[in-house]
């Protein structure tokens, strides 16, 4: 969480300094929820399809920092080689999916990865996970994917980060149920809700959902209640968020609270945390520096191939 917060604030500065082209999308305030998922998954077998606010989850699931900086800075050596940018990165062969922009689209894809494993007899002990926002639950893709996963009773965990807004759109213009967890029963899947500003609660709830899925209890929806503590993207100041919401319990910073929790549990002291911050800062610095020295993609050398079949001329 510290690492991803540090990385993201660096990305924000780079964006504001004009060093990143396109958009920068942060997960400030959502780290506890996202990281809980990344931590609860097994890096050697599970599947993770992150969404835009999942830097913390990506890091926790083992995405090297350099892949973030390479993608944001357009390095030709990054996982996307400059062909795609920012949060649209991944290494599908390592079970880290590279999202498309169309919200909800990852749900069915993760389901398919699990179906493949079932057919091959390799599903045992595997969990597939993805995240969506409150807004993404309004998509047909989310619905069809959830329903399909439920019919197949797949070991799947879907985190719904209900951060009160979809871009500028408040919940009241997005859905009419009290809590999105009310949808779980309609899909015939398990559903839980958690205060996602509370790191320990997140860890417990998300891990329980992951383990339930792993045990064969079918898809699990976990709704996290929280607030995005940044703009939709770094071009946006989020001024549409009312002060009342900002200053409510939803607006608490999961990182600050998490640190307090860690300290009060005696898991780390102030000094250690300071050290983590410093380590994070230098790791981020190194990842940025490396990506910045790497070559940009060269349109004259790029093979411009959308097909793997050789019979197709570029």
């Amino acid at each position: 969480m510290i690492l991803s917060r540090t990385l993201e604030s660096k990305l924000s500065s780079l964006y504001k300094a004009g060093k990143i082209v396109g958009g920068v999308y942060l997960g400030t305030g959502q780290e506890a929820f996202s990281a809980s998922l990344g931590c609860s998954l097994k890096q050697d077998r599970d599947i993770f399809a992150p969404l835009i606010r999942d830097q913390a989850g990506r890091t926790a699931f083992g995405e090297p920092l350099i892949e973030a900086t390479q993608t944001y800075l357009g390095s030709a050596l990054g996982p996307m080689k400059g062909r795609d940018g920012n949060i649209h990165r991944g290494r599908p062969a390592e079970r880290r999916l590279a999202m498309i922009s169309h919200l909800g689209a990852s749900v069915s894809v993760v389901a398919g990865m699990l179906v493949a494993r079932r057919i091959k007899g390799e599903l045992d002990g595997v969990v597939g996970a993805t995240s969506v926002g409150d807004g993404a639950t309004s998509t047909g893709a989310f619905h069809e994917g959830m329903n399909l996963a439920a019919v197949e009773r797949l070991p799947m965990v879907v985190l719904v980060a209900d951060n009160q807004f979809a871009y500028s759109t408040p919940r009241s213009r997005q859905f009419a149920c009290k809590s999105l967890v009310d949808r779980a029963k309609g899909y015939g899947v398990a559903g839980t809700e958690v205060d996602a500003t509370d790191l320990l609660a997140c860890l417990e709830t998300v891990l329980a959902a992951v383990e339930a899925a792993r045990r064969g209890e079918g898809p699990q929806i976990v709704v996290g209640k929280l607030l995005r503590l940044c703009g939709h993207g770094e071009h946006d100041d989020g001024s549409y968020v009312p002060d009342k919401v900002r200053s409510s319990d939803l607006g608490r910073d999961c990182l600050e609270r998490g640190i307090e929790q860690v300290v009060s549990l005696g898991l780390a002291g102030a000094q250690e945390i300071e050290q983590w911050r410093e380590e994070a800062a230098s790791e981020v610095q190194a990842a940025v520096a490396q990506a910045q020295t790497e070559p940009r993609p060269d349109p004259y050398r790029d093979n411009w191939r959308a097909y793997s079949w050789e019979g197709m001329e570029p």
Partner: protein, 321 residues
């Protein structure tokens, strides 16, 4: 004994399931029921784990197949009608079509689309959709016109690493028969001279190949020899064979069953003039369906799409008769 076009599709899927552990089929009513057109009849019985009925969720069906394909499987998705692939459009063009370019990981997925018109099917069970999928990068689009091509292409689709949009024509399902499937198929990317000729070339694909042959037969009674080129796949599109034919005949009619704006006929004509302008003795022509939804009534439908009559008429014009 004879083999129909739909038999060939059935046979290919049966063999694929038998030959390869990584193949599975997914679609509405394809299991015990055997599919709306019986293309999967009996297959679930033999392969209960690899022939799966899906919910009515075209978007998720393709999304699921994408996930399976990047996990080492070779899914074949059956859309009940090509027209319903409009719901899966996003997953097909934006997810399957971009994945290899973006990530380097290919998506060996086949989407079977029962296309094209039959009498009484109306606006939503008759569409040709190759224009949509041909336009977007990353997809191969096959449009078999023969029983053997249907068989070989479907088998080949599955071994190709790229997503294949397999446009099978419903009109041909039971109408088109052959004594036996050719043991050897032509390779993908090569068009076929279905009927040789020397006075004009008709370039077409899918069911229209047979309508073109009928028109050619009529004109042959008057001494005109019309060459019919079957593109077989519209992406890749074999321009070489087309140009070679136009070099022989000097005249081109591009023929298709799709809506008239854009699409295969426009692509063919504009490629031919770009590379073979000097070969043409007359302005190249196009003949497509009309620019309205596909009408339900058989009498309207028969005038909406090209027919041997309208093709003959276009050819007469092309031959300057």
């Amino acid at each position: 004994m004879s083999v129909t076009y739909i038999d060939a599709i059935h046979q290919a899927q049966l063999e694929l399931l038998r030959e390869r552990d990584d193949v599975f089929l997914y679609g509405q009513d394809i299991g015990a029921f055997g599919g709306a057109f019986k293309a999967t009849k009996g297959l679930q019985e033999e392969f209960p784990e690899r022939v799966l009925d899906s919910p009515i969720s075209e978007d998720a069906m393709v999304g699921m197949a994408i996930g399976a394909a990047i996990s080492g499987m070779r899914p074949i998705v059956e859309m009940q009608f090509a027209d319903f692939s409009s719901i899966a459009f996003n997953q097909i063009v934006n997810h399957a079509g971009t994945h290899f370019y973006r990530t380097g990981v290919p998506v060996p997925l086949t989407v079977r689309l029962p296309c094209g018109g039959t009498p009484g099917s109306g606006p939503f069970h008759s569409q040709m959709v190759e224009t949509l999928y041909g336009h977007y990068p990353g997809l191969l689009v096959m449009t078999p016109a023969t029983v053997s091509d249907a068989y070989h292409f479907l088998k080949e689709s599955v071994s190709l690493d790229d997503p294949v949009i397999f446009c099978e024509h419903k009109f041909l399902y039971r109408w088109l028969k052959t004594a036996a499937i050719d043991p050897e198929g032509l390779p993908l990317g090569v068009a076929r001279i279905t009927r040789p000729g020397k006075h004009a070339t008709v370039v077409t694909y899918s069911a229209m190949v047979h309508e073109a042959v009928r028109a050619a037969d009529r004109l042959s009674e008057e001494g005109w020899e019309i060459e019919v080129v079957d593109l077989r796949s519209i992406k890749p599109l074999d321009l070489d064979t087309v140009i070679a034919s136009v070099a022989r005949t000097g005249r081109l009619l591009a023929l298709g069953e799709a809506f008239p704006w854009g699409g295969v006929t426009a692509e063919v004509v504009s490629r031919v003039v770009a590379e073979g302008f000097h070969l043409l003795d007359a302005p190249p022509m196009r003949l497509n369906a009309k620019d309205t939804p596909i009408p339900y009534h058989p009498d309207l439908w028969a005038s909406h799409r090209p027919t041997p009559e309208s093709i003959t008429q276009s050819l007469r014009q092309l031959l300057n008769l």
